[in-house]
Symmetry: C2
Subunit: 70 residues, 2 copies
């Protein structure tokens, strides 16, 4: 499951979350995901579907292109 | 299953494929997907996982950020 792109994406989510001073639980509330899922995403353990990736982009008020501008 | 982001992504894939004068079958060979899957993606019928999105980016020699620069 773990691959380079998943690791990079997870690190990106963690960086953006911390820059906004949000806990995983707070980001979970914003996105509607369970906070365990947030943790798995940040560790690169989930191969997210596009509609879920979009929910993270929306939570950070970014376009998908900006979200992937790693 | 169909949502705005999937429709937009599918149109993007179709546009990029046609700009390169590739058939769905040719893009299938490049990506390793079945050509039926390419058609479903282009119609916004598949909610792709990130690792599969990356295969399309690689096929078009683009970063993920460029691929989503719709």
């Amino acid at each position: 499951m773990e691959s380079s792109v998943l690791i990079k994406f997870g690190q990106r989510i963690r960086t953006l979350r911390k820059a906004r001073k949000l806990t995983q639980k707070q980001l979970a509330v914003i996105t509607g995901f369970h906070y365990n899922y947030i943790g798995m995403v940040e560790r690169g353990e989930r191969d997210l579907r596009l509609t879920n990736i979009e929910l993270f982009a929306s939570a950070f008020d970014m376009s998908l292109s900006e979200l992937f501008n790693i």
